[in-house]
C-alpha cells in the first residue's frame, strides 16, 4: 500500500499547502486535508499500533468511526490522545504522534504480545493473573497498565478555554448531507427556527435559507429528556493553539429533531484483516473524491452488495488500477459486472478472501474461488464492504432498541425518542441493494478481527459464547468489543452476526447493545466550561470583606461564602490569633461580621401564627421589641435549624437561620406557606444580602456602641435589656436594626445596617472601640467562644439529633401544633440510651481533644461495640485549655464520669471527664457584665 496524491480532483485547496509533523517527520498537505488524507497522500501506511496486541495499523475509514488511526495531537499541556486522524483538519505547524508503541512505530518490541496471544483471548483479564492474589496489586496491575494503554494524557491542567451556551429552536436537524439540508430547508420555509448540525466542516459552501442556523464541526452527542440535546462544537481544533475558546458545549432545546446521519459502512472479517491497507470501500472513495488521494495503486474490492460497486467507476476515472472484485454473492450482480467491465476489472463471483498477506501492510490477498481452489492476488489495498448500517446511535439514547431489517440486512431504528424522526439512509432507505449478509468470510488462518480498536477477533466471540456469555450485553463486556473510543461503530453488527450464527439464532433475536451518550468522546473541559478551579462555584463576599482583607484576615470557605477566619498579627499562627481574639472579646470588646447567617423578613396578618407553626416554642406572646431563640424541627421530629427571631412590629418579624441552612430553611418555610397552610396570609422575603450585620461583643460592647448610636436611642440596660431589639439610626442617620443577643456568652449586640454601609460601620466601630482595645474576631474565635458556652451549632445540628439530645426538650410546646410535633413525641427520641449533649475536659491538661474522636468506657476494647458516642466540637480555649462538646449515651446522667477518648486516625487515646456542656459562666452572669 503506498498512497499518493492524484494529479487532479478532490475538494482540497491545492493552492494552499500546509506543513505538519507526524512522529517528528515533516510532511506537506493541503488546506482541507485531514491528517489521515495528508498522510495517505504522503505514502504513510503505518499510523499506530493496536491496543492489546500492538499490531501495526493503518487508516481504515474516513470519518469519526475510524478505529485505528488514533494519534496524539499537539504537545505539552495541549497534548490530547486518541484523536482520530480522519477528523483532525491539518493546520500549519500541526504536530501529531502515533500511539501505543515502543520507541519506534515500525519496530515495536511489545508486538511480542502476538506470540502470547493464545493467552490473551477473551476474558483473559479474568482468567490469567489470578494467582497469587498478592501479586495483583504490586505486579500484575502495573504490568497490564503499562502494556495496554491507548494514548497518553498530558498530565498537566487543561490550558484551553471552553464555552457553554444554550440554543432554542423548533427543529434540530442532525447531519448536513443531502437529506439533512432538505429537511432543514423545508422546515425553514414554514417559518420555523431551524438549527442544522454537521460533525464536519463542508469543503464546499452549503446554500441554506435564512432561518437555518448552521453549526459546522458540531457533533450532536446526546439526546435527553424534554427535547434537550447536547452538541459539541469544535471552534478551533482545526487551528493552531491560541487563547481563543477551543470548543463549545451547546445545549439545544428543540421542539423536534430530524436525524439525517446517514449510514456507516461495515466490513467483512477475514484473516489478518487488520493489516494496514484494509479499508472500508466508501472511505477509499472518499479519499479519492474529497481529498484527491489514492490510498494505493492496486486496489482489490471485497463486497456483498451493489452500493459498494460505486467505488469501481470512481477508481477507474482516477486512473487507479483495480486488482479485482471479489463478490461474496454466488452470481455477483448486474451492477457489479457492468461497472467492472467498464473498468477492465476481473470479477470473482461467489468467492471469499481467506486472508490478507503482507508484512506491516497489505501486499496481496489469498482468495477461495467459488469452484474451489485458491488464488493469490497481489494488491496493496483491500477495499471491503459488508454493507451499510444506518447511523442510529442517537435513536437509542432513550432505550429504544434497533430492529433488524432482514430485507436490507441492517439494524434500523426501533422506537424513537419523543419528537425525533429519521430520514434517508439513517432510516434504512436506499441502502444495501441486493445485499447478501456476510460477516466473516469463514476461514480462520491467523486472526479475523471484528473490533479493531480493542483487538477483539471472531474467535473471541465464539469463545465467549462457549463460556456462557451468549447474551449480547454479556458478550460486549466479556470481550470488550464495542467498548473502545469508537464504541464499535464498525464492529458491532458483525459481532452480532457472528454471535447469531454461533448460537444458531436470527440476528433480530440476538439483538444489539444499547447506545448511550456521548456518541463521541467529549473532553471533560467542555463539560465544565468556565466552572473549573476556583470558579467551580461562585464566591459570595460579605460587605466587610475588603475591610477584613485590609487587616490581613485569613478567610475560610463557608459554603459559597468567604468569611474571615482569624486576623493574625505578625508572628501569630491561627491558634495564637484566635486565642488573642477570644481574650479581647472576653476582656474588652470585639467585632465580627455575621452577615452570612440567613435573615428572613416575615410579614403579614398571620406572621405570628406562622411562626408558632414552624418553631417548637411560643411566638404569639413575644412582645414587639423583643428577640427569642427559636428551634425548628423537620417533619420527622429531628432538629433542622435554630436561630433567633425578632419582633419588630405586630405583624413584622425577622428570622435568622444558620449560614449553612439559609436556603434550606427558606425552601421549607415556602413549603409550609404554599402547601401545608395555604390559608395563612404571610410573606417571606430574604434579606440576608440587604443588611450587613456585625456582632459587637464583650464587657465594653455597650460603651463602644454608645459612641455611634444616634442620640434619641437609649441603650441602657433598663431600656434595652438582654434579648431586646429595636430599629434606630447610627452614625448620624444611617437606618439600622439592633439586637441584643449573644453567641459568645458576653454582653453582646448585633447591629445591622444596609449592606453598602457595613464597611464604614466596621471602621467606625473600630475607631469607637479603640480606647477599649477593640479587636476584630473571626470564625475561629467565634467557634471557641460558643464551645466554651456549650451552644449547639452545625456539628451538633447534624440532622440526627432531636431536641432532647441537645438538652432542649423543654422548648417543645405541649399546647400547639408545630412542624415535627407528632414525630418528636416518639418515645425513642427521648430514650436515655440516646446520645445526648455533654461537655468534655481531658484528665491530663496536655491532651488535646479532637472532633470526631469516639467515646468508649475506660477498659473496654476499642471496637465498634464499645462505642458510646463521639466528640462533635472541640476547641482550645485560652483560659480553659482543651474543651469539647460531645454526644454521649445517657449523657446528662454521667457528669463526672471518666471516659476513654479514642481517635485511631490521628493517634489520640487518652481519658477525659464528662461535664455539663457549658464550660464557662454557667449562670450567664457575663451577659449583663
Amino acid at each position: 500500500m503506498t498512497g499518493f496524491r492524484l494529479a487532479q480532483g478532490g475538494l482540497v485547496d491545492r493552492a494552499s499547502p500546509v506543513k505538519f509533523h507526524f512522529d517528528g517527520k515533516a510532511y506537506t498537505g493541503f488546506a482541507g486535508d485531514t491528517l489521515a488524507s495528508a498522510l495517505l497522500a504522503s505514502g504513510v501506511k503505518l499510523v499506530g499500533r493496536s491496543f492489546k496486541y500492538h499490531l501495526p495499523r493503518g487508516v481504515f475509514a474516513s470519518g469519526s468511526e475510524e478505529p485505528n488511526a488514533l494519534v496524539e495531537l499537539r504537545a505539552g499541556a495541549w497534548r490530547e490522545p486518541n484523536t482520530r486522524a480522519t477528523m483532525a483538519e491539518i493546520f500549519e505547524g500541526l504536530e501529531a504522534a502515533s500511539q501505543n508503541r515502543g520507541p519506534s512505530l515500525k519496530y515495536d518490541p511489545l508486538a511480542v504480545n502476538n506470540l502470547l496471544s493464545p493467552f490473551l483471548s477473551a476474558g483473559f483479564y479474568y482468567k490469567t493473573f489470578m494467582w497469587p492474589a498478592s501479586f495483583w496489586e504490586k505486579l500484575y496491575e502495573p504490568m497490564i497498565r503499562r502494556a495496554a494503554g491507548l494514548g497518553r494524557n498530558a498530565g498537566l491542567p487543561d490550558p484551553d478555554i471552553y464555552e457553554k451556551t444554550t440554543e432554542f429552536c423548533d427543529v434540530l436537524v442532525i447531519g448536513a448531507g443531502a437529506e439533512g439540508i432538505e429537511a432543514a430547508t423545508q422546515a425553514a420555509a414554514t417559518g420555523q427556527r431551524v438549527i442544522l448540525c454537521d460533525e464536519n466542516a463542508p469543503l464546499v459552501p452549503i446554500d441554506l435559507p435564512a432561518g437555518v442556523e448552521f453549526l459546522a464541526r458540531t457533533t450532536v452527542f446526546g439526546v435527553y429528556d424534554g427535547g434537550t440535546y447536547a452538541a459539541l462544537q469544535r471552534l478551533t481544533d482545526h487551528l493552531p493553539s491560541s487563547n481563543a475558546p477551543r470548543q463549545r458545549l451547546v445545549r439545544i432545546v428543540a421542539g423536534r429533531s430530524v436525524l439525517a446521519t446517514g449510514a456507516l459502512e461495515r466490513p467483512i472479517a477475514f484473516g489478518n484483516n487488520d493489516l494496514p491497507g484494509v479499508m472500508l470501500s466508501r472511505a477509499v472513495g472518499d479519499y479519492v473524491t474529497r481529498y484527491g488521494v489514492a490510498p494505493g495503486r492496486n486496489i482489490l474490492l471485497y463486497l456483498n452488495n451493489d452500493d459498494a460497486a460505486g467505488l469501481i467507476p470512481v477508481l477507474h476515472q482516477a486512473g487507479v488500477n483495480i486488482a479485482g472484485v471479489v463478490d461474496a454473492r454466488p452470481a455477483s450482480s448486474d451492477v457489479v459486472h457492468e461497472a467492472a467491465r467498464a473498468a477492465n476489472a476481473p470479477v470473482y463471483a461467489g468467492a471469499a478472501i481467506i486472508r490478507a498477506t503482507g508484512w506491516q501492510g497489505v501486499s496481496g490477498a489469498k482468495i477461495r474461488l467459488a469452484k474451489g481452489g485458491d488464488l493469490a492476488l497481489p494488491c496493496d489495498i483491500i477495499a471491503v464492504s459488508g454493507g451499510f448500517n444506518p447511523n442510529l446511535a442517537l435513536t437509542s439514547h432513550f432505550d429504544g432498541k434497533p430492529v433488524w431489517d432482514a430485507a436490507i440486512a441492517a439494524f434500523v431504528p426501533g422506537s424513537l425518542p419523543p419528537c425525533m424522526s429519521v430520514v434517508g439512509k439513517a432510516a434504512g432507505q436506499g441502502l444495501n441493494a441486493n445485499i447478501q449478509p456476510v460477516f466473516h468470510s469463514g476461514f480462520f488462518p491467523g486472526k479475523s478481527f471484528l473490533d479493531l480498536q480493542n483487538d477483539v477477533t471472531v474467535k473471541d466471540v465464539k469463545l465467549a459464547e462457549q463460556e456462557g456469555f451468549a447474551a449480547v450485553e454479556h458478550l460486549k463486556r466479556y470481550t470488550t468489543l464495542g467498548m473502545a473510543t469508537d464504541q464499535g461503530k464498525t464492529s458491532n453488527v458483525n459481532a452480532i452476526g457472528v454471535l447469531a450464527q454461533t448460537l444458531g439464532k436470527g440476528i433480530g433475536e440476538t439483538g444489539t447493545t444499547r447506545f448511550r451518550p456521548p456518541y463521541v468522546p467529549v473532553a471533560i473541559g467542555a463539560l465544565a466550561g468556565a466552572h473549573t478551579g476556583k470558579e467551580f462555584k461562585p464566591t459570595r463576599l460579605t460587605p466587610t470583606h475588603e475591610w477584613a482583607a485590609g487587616l490581613g484576615a485569613v478567610f475560610v470557605e463557608t459554603g459559597l461564602w468567604l468569611r474571615a477566619q482569624y486576623f493574625p498579627k505578625p508572628g501569630e499562627d491561627w491558634l495564637a490569633a484566635a486565642q488573642r481574639e477570644v481574650n479581647a472579646v472576653r476582656n474588652a470588646v470585639g467585632i465580627c461580621d455575621v452577615t452570612t447567617l440567613g435573615k428572613i423578613d416575615i410579614q403579614g396578618p398571620d406572621a405570628a401564627i406562622f411562626l408558632e407553626r414552624v418553631y417548637t416554642n411560643s411566638w404569639a406572646n413575644l412582645p414587639v421589641g423583643k428577640v427569642r431563640y427559636g428551634l425548628m424541627l423537620r417533619e420527622d421530629g429531628f432538629v433542622m435549624d435554630d436561630g433567633t427571631t425578632a419582633r419588630l412590629g405586630e405583624t413584622h418579624f425577622v428570622m435568622t437561620t444558620t449560614t449553612a441552612n439559609a436556603a434550606r430553611v427558606m425552601q421549607h418555610l415556602e413549603f409550609c406557606a404554599q402547601v401545608i397552610w395555604k390559608e395563612l396570609d404571610v410573606s417571606l422575603i430574604s434579606v440576608t444580602d440587604q443588611w450587613g450585620q456585625i456582632a459587637v461583643a464583650g464587657p465594653k460592647s455597650a460603651a463602644t456602641l454608645a459612641k455611634i448610636v444616634d442620640s434619641p436611642f437609649d441603650l441602657s440596660d433598663e431600656a434595652f435589656p438582654y434579648m431586646a431589639c429595636m430599629e434606630l439610626t447610627v452614625c448620624g442617620g444611617v437606618p439600622a436594626r439592633l439586637f441584643r443577643i449573644s453567641f459568645s456568652g458576653e454582653r453582646a449586640y448585633e447591629l445591622a445596617v444596609p449592606s453598602r454601609q457595613a464597611d464604614a460601620l466596621a471602621r467606625a466601630l473600630m475607631q469607637a472601640g479603640a480606647e477599649f482595645g477593640i479587636a476584630p474576631y473571626g470564625t475561629e474565635a467565634l467557634g471557641i467562644m460558643r464551645i466554651e458556652k456549650g451552644h449547639p451549632a452545625g456539628p451538633e445540628l447534624n440532622g440526627q439529633t432531636s431536641a432532647h439530645d441537645l438538652g432542649m426538650g423543654k422548648l417543645l410546646s405541649k399546647k400547639k401544633e408545630f412542624i415535627g410535633r407528632a414525630m418528636a413525641a416518639r418515645p425513642a427520641l427521648t430514650a436515655p440510651i440516646r446520645q445526648t449533649l455533654v461537655g468534655l475536659r481531658p484528665v491530663n491538661p496536655q491532651d488535646i481533644i479532637r472532633a470526631g474522636s469516639h467515646l468508649l468506657p475506660v477498659g473496654a476494647p476499642a471496637v465498634a461495640a464499645s462505642d458510646q458516642g463521639h466528640v462533635t466540637s472541640a476547641a482550645r480555649s485560652p483560659t480553659l485549655g482543651s474543651i469539647a462538646l460531645a454526644l454521649l449515651e445517657n449523657g446528662p446522667a454521667r457528669h463526672g464520669e471518666t471516659l476513654r477518648v479514642y481517635d485511631p486516625l490521628r493517634g489520640g487515646d487518652f481519658t477525659a471527664i464528662v461535664t455539663h456542656p457549658v464550660h464557662l459562666d454557667p449562670e450567664g452572669h457575663r451577659l449583663h457584665a
Binding site: 451556551t165 440554543e167 461562585p538 410573606s683 434579606v687 440587604q690
Partner: protein, 163 residues
C-alpha cells in the same frame, strides 16, 4: 469620528453597574392585591413582565410579588414592603453581541425575550432577575454575588462576536 465615540452606543460589549435607584420588594397580602392595585392606580403584572408607572419600574418578582425601582408612594397595610436597595446588585449589559453573551449564561430563550419580559433564572450558577431597559439588559443578583456575576459576564463577553 465623533459618532463612533457616542457613549450611548458602545462599540464593544459594556458591563457596568446600572444607575442606582431605590429598590423595594412588594408582596401583596392575601387580602390585598385588588386594594393594592386600586391604591397604586395600576394593574400589577400577573405574569413575568415589567411596566413603568409614574417614573418607577414595577417588575414581576414571583407570584404576588414585585420589585419597585424608583421613588413611588407605596400604601402600607396592604402588602409587605421590604427595602432591597442594598440586597440586590444590578448590572447592565450594553453594546453588541448581547444575545450571544447572554446565551452563554442564561438557560432561557433570550433571543425571544420581548422588551417588557422579565425572567427569574440562573446566570451560570448565580440566581438572577433579567429584564431589558432600552438598549440594554439588566441582570440583578444578590449583592454578595456581585463580583462573581461581573466576572461571569466579562468572561462571556470576552470571546463574543467571533461568530
Amino acid at each position: 469620528m465623533l459618532d463612533a465615540l457616542d457613549p450611548a452606543v458602545p462599540a464593544h460589549p459594556f458591563i457596568a453597574l446600572a444607575p442606582q435607584r431605590r429598590v423595594r420588594s412588594l408582596a401583596a397580602f392575601k387580602s390585598g392585591p385588588a386594594a393594592l392595585e386600586a391604591a397604586l392606580g395600576v394593574s400589577l403584572p400577573a405574569t413575568p413582565k415589567r411596566l413603568s408607572h409614574q417614573g418607577a419600574d414595577i417588575i414581576w418578582n414571583g407570584p404576588g410579588q414585585w420589585l419597585v425601582l424608583g421613588e413611588l408612594d407605596l400604601p402600607t397595610g396592604l402588602a409587605a414592603i421590604t427595602a432591597q436597595s442594598d440586597g440586590l446588585c444590578l448590572l447592565s449589559l450594553s453594546g453588541p453581541h448581547q444575545i450571544e453573551i447572554l446565551k452563554k449564561l442564561l438557560p432561557i430563550d433570550i433571543a425571544r425575550f420581548a422588551p417588557d419580559d422579565v425572567a427569574i433564572t440562573l446566570a451560570g450558577h448565580i440566581g438572577v432577575r433579567v429584564w431589558r431597559e432600552g438598549e440594554h439588559f439588566i441582570l440583578a443578583c444578590l449583592r454578595s454575588y456581585a463580583g462573581a456575576l461581573h466576572h461571569a459576564l466579562m468572561q462571556a463577553a470576552e470571546h463574543s462576536g467571533r461568530g
